[in-house]
């Protein structure tokens, strides 16, 4: 149900995404993340078009960590920041991190080899129902995403919403 993708640029790093619905303890989870007790990024799935968007953010975060150019304090906060179309860090957390009342969450882990231990650690902490990661597209709020990333109807003629979002994430440093 989870999705693990090796980062071709960093062959000893993989990214695992785990999606939960009917989450009852979002506030507690958010608090644990703030205190650094959860080794992962907790993302609001309504702002995600698909798993590829998360991979693009995670790959960029690892790259910036390795080259000493991160804009935030940790790899996991950098992943959340990279999802945002602009350079405002607190806004990125507000929009792409989870909020206390949320009932769904995408957990993103970056790890070396085997993810099974990390996976069970996370699953134990989340009071919710794990669903296939691909279901994230049924949770996305397309209208909100289009508004935040400023995607025009004509742009969707030459590509998908995911294309539009990924392009902005990848190029925001020089816009």
């Amino acid at each position: 149900m989870h999705l693990t993708q090796k980062l071709e640029l960093f062959p000893d790093h993989s990214v695992t995404q785990i999606l939960f619905k009917d989450v009852k303890n979002a506030a507690e989870l958010r608090q644990s993340a703030v205190e650094g007790k959860i080794n992962g990024a907790l993302i609001n799935p309504t702002m995600l078009v698909g798993p590829f968007q998360v991979l693009v953010a995670a790959n960029k975060a690892v790259h910036l960590q390795k080259t000493g150019k991160m804009k935030t304090r940790s790899l996991y906060s950098e992943i959340i920041f990279n999802l945002s179309p602009n350079n405002n860090i607190s806004e990125a957390f507000k929009r792409f991190g989870i909020s206390d009342g949320d009932d769904s969450v995408m957990v993103v882990l970056v790890h070396n080899q085997d993810e099974s231990q990390l996976l069970s650690d996370v699953t134990n902490k989340v009071n919710g129902r794990q669903v296939p990661v691909e279901d994230v597209s049924s949770l996305s709020d397309a209208a909100k995403i289009k508004k935040l990333y400023k995607v025009t109807p004509q742009e969707e003629v030459c590509g998908t919403l995911l294309d539009a979002v990924v392009c902005r994430m990848a190029t925001k440093d020089v816009m």
């Binding site: 640029l9 991979l55 790959n59 960029k60 030459c158 990924v166 990848a170 020089v174």
Partner: protein, 234 residues
């Protein structure tokens, strides 16, 4: 703590598809997707500091113009990742495509399809210029045509994909747009012999599609005249 970029290591195991004067193009998989990596390399004869600046500028110009075109509904490859440390752009691989150059070369002369194709090119360049994007290196090698997986017939409009924006810039001046077309005309006629009529078809479609084409075509005529005078003198 800062280390070097990991991109060169990935590229050392990737398929080199083209070695140009300014850049190398590789095919690889990236985040599970077929991807083209365009790497600009240093020019040894330039001063290193200047070279670094120029290479960085080409890279940023390329991704900026791709985004600007896409926002206007003009197809260009999706940018997946930019590594400014090694001057690499990771782009969507436009799979089962042909350059317009190869497509024209493989078509029989007088083919009806060719008229339709160059009309499409004219319309798209008109839209690009209406967005004030000057491509800077318009050739038929810098346009890709998505093909049907089975055969060779081009499909509808978004299937013409513009690439290679490293020399692009933003300008509203008719002169800059006229020169952009002049560069294309020179390249077109020398790459594809006996296509004067076909290029006229392209220009007609450009003129019909652009709101501001009159001033641009006037400048094109002036630039042509200057070109001719220069070659008469020299």
């Amino acid at each position: 703590m800062a280390q070097k970029s990991c991109t060169p290591e990935l590229l050392s195991g990737a398929e080199l598809m083209k070695q140009g004067a300014e850049a190398r193009l590789y095919r690889t998989r990236f985040l599970g997707k077929p991807t083209v990596v365009k790497q600009r390399f240093p020019k040894r004869y330039r001063h290193p500091v200047l070279d670094e600046k120029l290479t960085h500028r080409r890279t940023t110009q390329e991704v900026r113009s791709i985004l600007r075109c896409r926002k206007a509904g003009i197809s260009a490859p999706v940018v997946y990742f930019v590594d400014y440390a090694s001057h690499c752009i990771f782009l969507e691989d436009i799979v089962s495509s042909s350059t317009v150059r190869d497509y024209i070369a493989s078509c029989p002369d007088q083919d009806q399809d060719l008229d339709l194709l160059v009309q499409k090119v004219g319309r798209i360049l008109a839209r690009m210029h209406d967005e004030d994007v000057i491509h800077g290196d318009l050739t038929t090698s810098n346009m890709l045509l998505r093909l049907h997986p089975d055969g060779t017939k081009p499909r509808h409009e978004p299937d013409l994909v513009l690439i290679d924006f490293g020399l692009s810039y933003i300008s509203a001046l008719p002169e800059d747009k006229g020169v952009d077309l002049y560069v294309l005309e020179k390249a077109f006629l020398s790459t594809h012999p006996n296509t004067e009529a076909l290029f006229q078809t392209l220009l007609h479609s450009y003129t019909a599609a652009s709101n501001k084409s009159n001033a641009v075509i006037k400048k094109l005529d002036e630039v042509r005249l200057r070109g001719r005078k220069r070659s008469m003198v020299g």
